[in-house]
Symmetry: C2
Subunit: 299 residues, 2 copies
């Protein structure tokens, strides 16, 4: 599979995925068996597969599902939540859900429409909101680490986007592990070395039910554009997607980039006067400025 | 034109190219009116256009043509030389030619075949040889600076190749100006901000005769592969090729990369015991190891 070009049967393939995940956790010092882990699940194949693999490896992992209130033709968010609920129930695992509409009075689509009518997609608002809720849930629940199901295709696409636009701060920070700092919980990506098709194959072989549909907003998204470039490149040169990501991590480890400077926004060490979460703003944080009634952030 | 989206008539377009070239020379401190300049010409549109523009700007510029002995169906190298000779003669400019077969006993194709039979293309051997001859000619002739006709499409393709493979040393060094160091003459690229179609338009409007054919070895070359990726990207997002290159130069200027370390091969400050040119090797330089009879390097 992938850069390994292995041929494994349906018995040994899941074992290989589990063992490779443990190897990635070890290689990047992601977490220890004693850590309390919070996995962000979307109902899709990557995050549910990740939860399954970490559970089988014996880690202590609770899940969080953020219901963004995206409806589309298929009632996307509610259906995704059902997949997460069934997965957790079938394995006796603990799942928290945060319903954005109920907690903050508006769905992500409504927030996005109110804030930026000129823009079509709520993706940037959605990213901000998910980062906030995820970090606050981890912090309130005293978790040691947040894990997400980002795979190699995701990471390579983000890297390509950051590279083609030479976003210095993003290039310095992109990593399988973002260390804890200033009120932010450590974040890790144990699937960063798996191709998307590899996690999909695991989910199919193990019979994990997941939502196959993509988010209705993802069509023609910027990330898809970069994924297509990489897929074209991969077809002409198999293994190059992995090499692109791996050589980047090596170049960074070997000191290609200068350190983040004190001038970086990340070093403005404030807490939001409303919600108390860390922020780079000197006034209300971006989240409290986003939601309709900032008082809801104190709940 | 290009990222500027200008509409200029055939009278003002050449003036715009000339003025923009002077602006690039000034912006990157490439050279002064008192410098003696050596332009490397291939007979193609970029290098002859560059010679024409620098001549019109009043700089003191001699040309050098390296005849590599590539024949193909069209007697490629000899025909290219004819274009350079006619160009120089029509303007009363001085052109030196170095005929590789006559000076070193073999054409580039023969050298390449002798050294690396398993590889199809002589491109890497050709690059080594051109860099050597260019630098030796500049050094022997006491020129202050070498200029080459690399355009934005060339530079962006080289950058993309170096980036997708995260070649740290190449990323640190890629620049419109390579300063003089350890026996190497300064090298500059005054056309690095022009799209290929912009230099082509100048050549056509000014009636510069150039060889339209590409080198017979360039087909399916690695550089073409990266140019195709960038062209696809440019079609979807006009101006992005320029932005990719310009944001890279800005990020570098703003200190994204660490300095070249003392361990870098560039810091092995030797001279070749045979030809006396600077080299990173402790024995014969790569050029003296390439040619059939190293005694020829002393001529």
């Amino acid at each position: 599979m992938g850069e390994h070009r292995l041929a494994l049967c349906s018995q040994h393939y899941p074992e290989w995925i589990i063992q490779q995940t443990q190897e990635t956790i070890r290689k990047y010092k992601m977490f220890n068996p004693s850590d309390r882990i919070l996995v962000a699940v979307s109902g899709g194949k990557d995050s549910l597969t990740l939860w399954d693999v970490l559970f089988k490896l014996g880690y202590s992992v609770d899940g969080i599902y953020i219901n963004l209130g995206i409806r589309g033709e298929s009632d996307y968010s509610n259906r995704s939540e059902t997949y997460c609920q069934s997965f957790a129930a079938s394995r006796g695992l603990k799942l928290q859900t945060v319903n954005i509409s109920e907690k903050y009075g508006e769905s992500i689509s409504e927030m996005s429409y109110r804030k930026m009518r000129s823009q079509e997609k709520p993706c940037s608002v959605c990213g901000l909101l998910k980062r906030y809720v995820l970090n606050k849930t981890a912090s309130d629940g005293k978790y040691d680490v947040i894990v997400t199901g980002h795979n190699l295709d995701d990471e390579a696409a983000i890297l390509l986007a950051n590279t083609l636009e030479w976003k210095s701060e993003m290039l310095r920070r992109q990593s399988p592990v973002l260390p804890a700092e200033m009120g932010f919980t450590r974040k890790t990506k144990p699937f960063c070395r798996f191709y998307e098709r590899e996690t999909a194959a695991y989910a199919l072989i193990q019979g994990i039910d997941f939502i196959e549909e993509e988010c209705p907003h993802s069509e023609n998204s910027k990330q898809l554009f970069f994924k297509n470039i990489l897929n074209g490149w991969e077809i002409e040169h198999p293994g190059r997607k992995f090499q692109f990501y791996a050589t980047f991590l090596n170049a960074r480890k070997d000191g290609l980039f200068t350190e983040i400077t004190r001038e970086s926004p990340r070093f403005n060490d404030h807490c939001c006067p409303n919600c108390g979460q860390p922020t780079t703003s000197v006034e209300l944080c971006a989240f409290c400025r986003l939601i309709k009634d900032p008082a809801d952030a104190k709940k």
